[in-house]
């Protein structure tokens, strides 16, 4: 059996998304900036895609700019807010310790440029509260950036409450919604979000296409200079096939969101309940406030990369926050942020489902994973020390 359970990394493109893109590859291949018919057809397609994305986020089409992905959208949102803040002498930014590196590394760059950054700690369940955000806001704060849902542990943040706090205090609010868009309902107006990033390949759209929503009146800084595409905020000939396909994928995901999420919550809970029977294992992230289909566990006494390799041999493709999977020396900053000790964080496993995941696949994972964990524990000196009482169990 083959199970792709790494949908938080990327998803398979849907049929609808593939088909939406095809005509714009070799038929309607004009440059949207060209005056002729072919160009205008491409331009209309991009505009239509913009309208679709705007409608689904409850935004205005003028508030949507297409980017090369989630990372670019994150970079541009943060750098824009920082530039706006600097004009008023406001050079303090607030974010959280468990953001994606597209956010964290952009903030680090700003720190080198003389900005001050506060990274809020994250609770054990992977959630930051609006009260904590409120308490961190200062007179010179120019941006709060809190991810909608965490990419590793799936915990969903109280975005509406944080939005309300920021609006009240007159601080711009950005959310990296890359993992959430297309999976949970999002209304940028109701949530009082000023800036939002999304990425098409996380909801069965193409890779290399993202969106930055910027509320009217929030002046963006252009990261790429050149032509006047995207209202002068993002130069470069538009990725027409990708943009059209991204909008089609988003439409499809939103159309099926209710049924998909009900199914994925059920399948995810089945996986969670099954994996909980493994001794000395623990779910990472909040049990309820989490993305449908995100399952993230720590198994004590084993290391994640060897777990992934053995699961891959059995046809299960997943991911881990262990140091050795990334070539880094530290395990995932997300797992450390929620308080997992290093030795436990190395033994993490993320299974992320999609609307293509079947019940049989879930059952298969439940039959394969526990014995693999046990096999690795049997050769682990750490596990043996714990079982013999030489070292304490941490989970």
């Amino acid at each position: 059996m083959f199970v792709y359970a790494d949908n938080a990394a990327t998803t398979k493109m849907s049929r609808a998304a593939v088909e939406a893109m095809l005509p714009y590859l070799d038929e309607a291949y004009g440059n949207p900036s060209s005056l002729h018919t072919a160009g205008q057809r491409a331009s209309a397609a991009v505009q239509s895609a913009r309208n679709t994305v705007a409608e689904l986020l409850h935004a205005d089409p003028k508030e949507i700019i297409f980017t090369s992905g989630g990372s670019e959208a994150d970079n541009q949102a943060i750098l824009s807010a920082a530039a706006l803040g600097a004009k008023h002498g406001k050079k303090h930014l607030i974010s959280t310790a468990f953001e994606h590196h597209a956010v964290l590394h952009t903030l680090r760059k700003l720190e080198k440029d003389g900005y001050e950054v506060t990274l809020l700690p994250v609770h054990e369940n992977g959630i930051v509260t609006a009260e904590e955000v409120a308490a961190a806001i200062r007179d010179d704060t120019c941006l709060v950036s809190v991810m909608f849902a965490n990419n590793e542990i799936g915990s969903i943040q109280p975005i509406g409450e944080i939005g309300a706090v920021c609006r009240k205090r007159g601080v711009l609010f950005h959310t990296d919604a890359v993992q959430a868009v297309g999976h949970v309902p999002i209304d940028v107006q109701a949530l009082q979000v000023d800036l939002l990033s999304l990425s098409a390949h996380k909801f069965h759209g193409p890779k290399g296409v993202g969106v930055l929503y910027a509320r009217r009146g929030v002046l963006l800084t252009s990261l790429i200079e050149g032509g006047a595409q995207e209202r002068g905020k993002r130069a470069g000939t538009e990725n027409v096939p990708g943009i059209v396909s991204a909008a089609a994928a988003l439409r499809e995901s939103c159309d099926h969101m209710a049924e998909t999420s009900a199914r994925l919550i059920r399948l995810g809970n089945k996986l969670i309940d099954g994996l909980r029977t493994v001794p000395h294992a623990a779910l990472n992230g909040d049990a309820v406030q989490r993305l449908p289909g995100n399952v993230n566990f720590c198994f004590e006494g084993i290391e994640g990369e060897s777990l992934l390799l053995l699961l891959d041999q059995r046809g299960i493709e997943a991911s881990s926050g262990s140091a050795c999977t990334s070539g880094a020396l530290d395990p995932s900053h997300v797992l450390l942020a929620i308080g997992r000790p290093h030795e436990v964080a190395h033994g993490s496993l993320r299974l992320s489902l999609s609307r293509y995941t079947t019940e049989e696949e879930v059952d298969y994972m439940l039959s394969e994973i526990p014995p693999v964990v046990e096999y690795l524990r049997e050769m682990s000196p750490v596990w043996k020390d714990m079982e013999r009482g030489v070292k304490p169990h941490l989970l």
Partner: protein
């Protein structure tokens, strides 16, 4: 996955000499759980020869495969030869490792040297 050579995958999937030796003559443990790789080696030594060796490893594919390969390389060998075992030799025997994985394999060499030291210490204690 094409991350590792066939040799590495073979030793990772079918590790040789996994286990413990309760009455080992030398035991070495290196690494720590914090950094993600720990290796424990048990040696049985008769005269000058490693007659048996077993290992337990907590770690990635590279760590497990190099543990397995290293134990194969020292089994039945005289101590004089074992002392000269280098991480590079283990890596070469595995047909190489990705650059960022070399540090995981260093443990194999270190664990063996640590077990040899333990053996020497025990010998000295026995003599006294």
């Amino acid at each position: 996955m094409a991350l590792y050579s066939e040799k590495v995958m073979d030793h990772f999937l079918h590790p040789r000499n996994v286990g413990e030796i309760p009455d080992a003559d030398g035991v070495g443990e290196v690494g720590n759980a914090k950094c993600g790789d720990i290796m424990k080696i048990y040696l049985k030594i008769d005269g000058d020869i490693i007659t048996d060796v077993k290992f337990n490893t907590f770690g990635c594919g590279s760590a497990i495969a190099s543990s397995s390969m290293a134990t194969e390389m020292i089994k039945g060998k005289p101590l004089s030869e074992v002392k000269k075992l280098t991480n590079q030799a283990v890596t070469e025997a595995l047909d190489g490792l990705p650059a960022h994985k070399i540090h995981c394999s260093v443990l194999a060499e270190e664990a063996i040297q640590s077990a040899l030291e333990d053996y020497r210490r025990r010998q000295e204690e026995a003599e006294q």
